[in-house]
């Protein structure tokens, strides 16, 4: 019982951290004028982290409720397609394995929490699209639109 609670808290915190991190990064890129020794992460790294976290959240829910597999698997596949394109775009061997992927089952995952996560992800991708250079705008835009359709599909 206690153990389960810990896993849940951690995975939630990690996922929130991903979302908050994306907001913080967006701020940094614009205002930070001081020389930074460490290489800046790619501006689209948060989109990749979110895609992996969302795919992992679907996977966990499918494991705990196999009856949902038919409905949820295509949505998880969409996120993996996003992750593949983002990895290609950003380059390097990013694959920062979704933070919560290691937690085999987080009982808190539900259709409702997935829907909220999709909506948050849509907002983040829309913000990334708005400030993206021209050659990246279509990818971020399609990802934002896709996350919106997922929220709709989960209604």
């Amino acid at each position: 019982m206690v153990f389960t609670g810990t896993v849940l808290t951690n995975s939630r915190r990690n996922f929130l951290g991903v979302l908050l991190g994306s907001a913080a990064l967006a701020g940094c890129g614009v205002f930070d004028s001081e020389p930074e020794p460490a290489p800046q992460p790619d501006a689209f790294q948060p989109l990749l982290d979110e895609a992996l976290a969302l795919a992992a959240a679907y996977d966990r829910l499918i494991v705990s409720q196999p009856a949902l597999a038919t409905r949820l698997t295509p949505l998880a596949e969409d996120h993996r397609a996003h992750a593949a394109d983002l990895t290609r775009l950003i380059g390097a061997a990013v694959v920062s394995a979704a933070p919560s992927a290691s937690a085999p089952s987080a009982p808190a995952d539900s259709i409702a929490t997935l829907r909220k996560a999709e909506q948050a992800g849509q907002k983040a991708a829309a913000a990334a699209c708005k400030t993206a250079p021209a050659d990246r705008a279509m990818l971020a835009g399609s990802i934002a639109a896709c996350r919106a359709t997922h929220a709709e599909a989960l209604r």
């Binding site: 295509p74 397609a81 708005k130 639109a145 919106a148 599909a153």
Partner: protein
């Protein structure tokens, strides 16, 4: 950008035409009202596009007098399929505007792309077509 605006206008005109055909084949009150709402939305976007093209002093290609439907529509099933088809097409046109716009104009294009993608998902659900979503709405092919 005028080229992409003209393409978006053509897609919206085609959608308006298609929803006229779609409406004829729907009888369920909820489906009819969804089609009507979609039609109004596409008309509003068309009007905005005409204004924007005017602002840029660009002349859009004149709308063809008749639109060729991608397939014959004779019943509800065909009507729902056409609705999915036109929303996908409109989504493609707005997505093409993202790289040639900035700021609020890009946000508007994204919101139209998103809106059409979500509407296509709703039509797929009503038509019981799966999958309900695609990984990259608006990406051709």
């Amino acid at each position: 950008m005028t080229e992409q605006l003209a393409a978006a206008l053509a897609a919206e005109e085609a959608a308006i035409y298609a929803y006229g055909v779609i409406g004829v084949h729907l009888t369920d009150a909820d489906e009819v009202s969804r089609a009507r709402a979609a039609d109004l939305e596409h008309r509003a976007r068309r009007d905005d596009l005409i204004d924007r093209i005017d602002e840029l002093r660009a002349s859009a290609a004149p709308a063809p007098a008749a639109y060729a439907l991608p397939f014959e529509v004779t019943d509800r099933e065909g009507a729902l399929k056409l609705a999915v088809h036109v929303e996908d097409g409109v989504a493609q046109a707005w997505r093409a505007l993202l790289p040639v716009t900035e700021g609020d104009e890009r946000s508007d294009a994204l919101s139209h792309l998103t809106d059409s993608a979500v509407r296509a998902t709703r039509w797929r659900r009503i038509a019981e077509v799966t999958p309900l979503t695609m990984a990259f709405p608006g990406r051709p092919g």
